[in-house]
Subunit: 286 residues, 2 copies
């Protein structure tokens, strides 16, 4: 289920995630990426909402870019029946959009807790049920669902899915070949079980995507925005990328940075830095 | 190795960690705790440094208080030989202080990474070596070392030990009965493997301490200070406390809150709130 990557020169596996340049208009983002010789982008549903999925597909094609993933589905932890139904409907729309954009996988941020219901075990159970309900639809659509373990500092408000092993447990319970995991260095670099979990994911053919950015300190006021250029923080990119490579992953590698300083940088310059750091710290080990 | 607790009325298992009232002078803190009918405190080395260990022991005894733990040893991740030797010496002094204070256990914050050395696997290895070097000294001294898994958001700067299973792996590798784990709700509430890890700790007689406080959002500018009164955040205290009880733990339960609002509250009032929340959310399940 890995993203097929053409054998070319340069850094064909580098994909720029749209959110790395979220303050730039979509057209300028696509053109700047293509102009840098980069061949793929990870897209977000916000652009679909703004310009429509067919227009977004056309613009991506016109720029000569492949789509490595779509962000994001998920948010499956609400308990009330009406909210759960609405969430499943929304996820089916996201799957349709991924198909329309030619994205092989939909990244799933599974959802957090509420102050009224702090039962994290029950919330995790609802995630598994939701993924089970969506998997047949993804299978029929011919795309995969990349469960994203998020850093535990987001467990309360964004994702009760915190580790790669936990994502694989859900995938195995669901039992669908369309369900797997995205390894994002920012979220999982600290995990003492990471090496074994990456091997387990690959052996089960569930290592669907690899996203990179650094873990910066001090944390930003909005901790999500502490994602940094590779090399600026504490992530050991050679070590993690070697684990990913040795597990057999040959797909795209997305750089996804949420960082107000990066967003304030002219897009051509931030993409240049991304590509440079990618070539220094990631590509030699990929 | 659990802390023996006398069978009395009220909340004999409640211990107030010194850092919950860090802005109050030590004498006032001890008197306010005793005046609230609380029988135990968790102490910090800063007070030892300020007034001396014998004076601190005398004041604690005079207030009629038991000492449930001493914070903290650890910081064993530095690579240079001189720093490692100094860290071991410092930890032996901390063990001596725990003995002098009558604390059954020394809480260990193992240390983080440096920007020069991001190899987290190697840093973890140095932690195991350091604990192995200290364990015989702790055994001779008749105290335990409580390895503290810290929330993964502190993995870079404070503790490469992030989960309870990981702490138990270290304890088993070291093989000493003096090495175990402290379960602190703030640090481990998100862990999908928590239930099994607590059982494993108890079965190995390595469940040495239980500390409680809530996980507040939004995170404070200094994330360590996002610890809150039980009930203010997202931790499911009945569920985790039930796991601890069912595993057989009968020792002290320390409330350890780092929070600037709590510190700005008059000490008698913050201790009253702590005791009230403890009786509501923790004690019925303990």
């Amino acid at each position: 289920m890995n993203t097929p990557v053409p054998e070319t020169e340069g850094t064909p596996r580098l994909s720029i995630n749209r959110w790395s340049c979220r303050t730039t208009g979509i057209q300028e983002f696509l053109e700047a990426t293509a102009a840098a010789g980069i061949e793929a982008v990870g897209l977000w549903r916000q652009d679909v909402e703004e310009i429509g999925r067919d227009a977004l597909r056309r613009r991506t094609d016109d720029a000569g870019l492949r789509v490595s993933s779509l962000c994001r589905g998920g948010f499956l932890t609400a308990a009330p029946a009406a909210e759960r139904t609405a969430a499943l409907d929304e996820n089916r729309r996201a799957i349709d959009e991924a198909v329309a954009l030619g994205a092989p996988t939909l990244v799933m941020v599974v959802g957090g807790l509420s102050r009224e219901d702090k039962d994290v075990v029950a919330a995790r159970g609802r995630v598994t049920e939701g993924i089970a309900a969506l998997a047949p639809y993804a299978e029929s659509a011919g795309i995969t669902l990349s469960l994203e373990p998020m850093h535990p500092m987001f467990a309360a408000d964004r994702s009760v899915l915190s580790t790669t092993h936990q994502a694989l447990d859900i995938a195995e319970q669901v039992g669908s070949p369309a369900v797997g995991v995205v390894v994002d260095t920012y979220h999982v670099w600290w995990d003492p079980q990471l090496a074994g979990a990456i091997r387990r994911a690959a052996e089960a053919d569930r290592l669907l995507a690899y996203q990179v950015c650094d873990w910066n300190l001090p944390l930003a006021a909005e901790p999500l925005f502490s994602r940094g250029y590779m090399g600026d923080g504490f992530v050991d990119f050679p070590a993690i990328t070697t684990l990913i490579r040795d597990a057999g992953y040959r797909g795209d590698i997305e750089v996804e940075i949420f960082n107000e300083d990066v967003w304030a940088t002219p897009v051509a310059e931030s993409i240049r830095i991304i590509a440079e750091r990618f070539e220094q710290l990631v590509l030699p080990h990929a």
